[in-house]
Symmetry: C2
Subunit: 491 residues, 2 copies
Amino acid sequence: MTTVLDKPFDLILFGGTGDLSLRKLLPSMYRAFMEDEIPQGSRILVCSRKQKDFDNTLSIIETAFKKFMLKDEFCAKSFKQFAKYIQPAMVDVADYQKGWGKFVTFFEGRESIPRIFYLAIIPSIYGDCCENLDRANLVTDDSRVVVEKPIGYDQNSAEAINQKIANHFKEEQIYRIDHYLGKETVQNLLALRFSNSLFEQFWDSKSIDHIQISINEQVGLEGRAEFYDGAGAMRDMVQNHLLQLLGLVAMESPNKMGADNIRTEKIKVLQALRPITGDDVKKYTVRGQYVAGNVEEKLEPGYLEELGSGTSQTETFVAIRANIDNWRWAQVPFYLRTGKRLKRRSAEIVIQFKNVSHNAFDADAGQLVPNRLIIQLQPEERMQLLLMAKDMTQLKTVLKPVKLDLNFTESSSGFKSFGYKRLLLDAIAGNASLFIHRDEGSAAWQWVDPIIDYWKENNVVPDLYRAGSWGPNESDELLAADKREWIDIEK
Amino acid sequence: MTTVLDKPFDLILFGGTGDLSLRKLLPSMYRAFMEDEIPQGSRILVCSRKQKDFDNTLSIIETAFKKFMLKDEFCAKSFKQFAKYIQPAMVDVADYQKGWGKFVTFFEGRESIPRIFYLAIIPSIYGDCCENLDRANLVTDDSRVVVEKPIGYDQNSAEAINQKIANHFKEEQIYRIDHYLGKETVQNLLALRFSNSLFEQFWDSKSIDHIQISINEQVGLEGRAEFYDGAGAMRDMVQNHLLQLLGLVAMESPNKMGADNIRTEKIKVLQALRPITGDDVKKYTVRGQYVAGNVEEKLEPGYLEELGSGTSQTETFVAIRANIDNWRWAQVPFYLRTGKRLKRRSAEIVIQFKNVSHNAFDADAGQLVPNRLIIQLQPEERMQLLLMAKDMTQLKTVLKPVKLDLNFTESSSGFKSFGYKRLLLDAIAGNASLFIHRDEGSAAWQWVDPIIDYWKENNVVPDLYRAGSWGPNESDELLAADKREWIDIEK
């Protein structure tokens, strides 16, 4: 799992002057540059389709950096040095007649240098782009292609896109990105699980009561209305992010921490997800859509108002009770939740341990709260362990829950985690452990598709929830049926 | 385990103007008074034998408070109020002809008020004192007697003293104090063990590699030369403090946190200690005596120089590898260590967990250090959990040990633990859970006596160690033979 760039590379950003590239990818490379992580002789080819963008590539990037980067991150002098790595290029990824002739010349004499093609473009032209790269003989053995989710909208469409890429790249050359996996806390989850006997021995149904995985958004549609209304929360968040996190939390210990070992274990988890079909869909899933409500004391419009359409039944909220049918997780429910316009922005994994088997303390020592490990990804990256301890301010024995910070802040002071940077450098270094294997996506769709199909076929109308709430009542009822509740980690 | 004083009491301090009383007992009561923990109508009878002490009781106490208490603790105005609870008394505990007639009158009309007789006197007159209390008809059903260690110098002498006390008090009325058990961290150890599934499930030979219990002193004889040379570290520290701590760490989970439940479990542990006899004594115990050496850059004299005698073979250091023959602790060694004039003053229990069963990480991720729980009693009371985590400052996966503070300082800010105060209030409230049952002392002597006897019979000469070191080399070799080492928790 080491990622140190020790030889030059060519990073080719298709859609190089687009939103993703300007907000995330190029700032990530700039940060890497500032940390002296970019080997001499490397290049970043920033590809655009339009003459205007091509002519102004550097000034477009500079403007974006000043706008999107953190305070004090941008340094004009350093930017000039960084700019030397940048090679503007003009090419139409989908049309071999436009610009490819000139584009090919950029690579002359650099056949031995690894090429990382980053497709920051819409998935519908992934296939064309790969075909043109192949046609131009640019796909060397040491080439990789990085693609962004969402790939497709169901198993079949995803497979079609994957197949088009696979016609020109081997699976081990294809890097499917999920930026949640770039978070340091996710890395640390693997470190904690597999380097501490205290945790790994506990990581099963004997010790764990249940697990909650939530990605709660406070925002609404943010200009993605058209895409989102066609997709919904299930495709936008559950199929990829939530199931990826579930895979990492639930996987067996890999033999090695290599990419294939980890991905093999994640695939096994996704394949072991108990299918939710027929009327079980109603029992174990909740579908919601927000209506107008107060978010942090400001009245926000409902989904239909934001959409400007009165008929959509797209879900903006999903809650699911999932089960993994293997030895480790028998009887341990995984509660998944995601939604827009919820009360707070937060993403977290909560491992709820079982309580002690016997309470030997007096009634007036207070109630025993079971141990809990919280892995928070948003808004902050941190880990917390909830333990019971004696209230040291009292002479008599009163037990109370205390939260231990596993943030290790003293050891990481000043360190800011940038998920995209990490993933980008991993892709450049050829470390695929945090990228998604085709079979993972496929297994995830296989589990998700029947639920979406059932909703559609049975015309399951979303349960309404107010903007600024924690979702529809049905979400609480899903857990209440198991005598459990969503844990508000701020409390 | 609650200790709230809710009715008046009579605390009778025999040896009330002696060192223990002035340094520890009366300051503890003053602190309790300052916290409003002393019910109206309570009294503290400060008993002395000499007319001069009797006449000046209050001024003696005031002088001592000013000398021994923490900065800002003493308040002249409050002391005046506190003084109203104090009743000076003159009585010779060992001679019924001297002062008992008058002494008895103090208790007239207070038959229903609990009496706590604290024997801050030498153990050789415990029997006389109890006999005189009985003769004076002062031992009510609601009376308790508190005695200080050391009780005896071996099983027989301890039993003789215990029997003399038992002639006048029932076992449940006898409170044998060990001030190490009054420390908040010891309380918290019980809380942590029995209110967290994360710990209690791990508390056995399947998960724990070994346990170290150390009480390291930096001081030398401190004016206790005569007593100490007759006793040695084994009687002075191992038989009581170290074995008490071992009992609390190793005991089975009690049904309830009641005094009898806890003491029953501790007795079982002490009775399960594997006897060390014959040549095993040489193999599993180390006896040491210090010679002159540098302690914190100051040359300190050796034991013989301090003693002023050239012949003593008393041990000032003991290290033992102990085993507990029961299901929970099979194969788990308990390493005990105590000594004078060691490098630092520290008392701690180290729970060394086993390492993960398989290291899946790359060699360059670094070495995995097994998890460790440290319960420190001196110089500070704190708990620490050592875990492995990803070094967040590095992009590549480098694992490093991090120490989590279980001190819960945020929740206990400003709280200062006073072991004696806690134990004194427990004794007054009739909560015996932190006091030592006769059978515990007996079991401890049964284990300790054969070792001392072997040393004596075989003329085992102490291994020498320099003042300011961690004891003789043989102490390190004891652990090296098991491929282990003493853990320096400051490192």
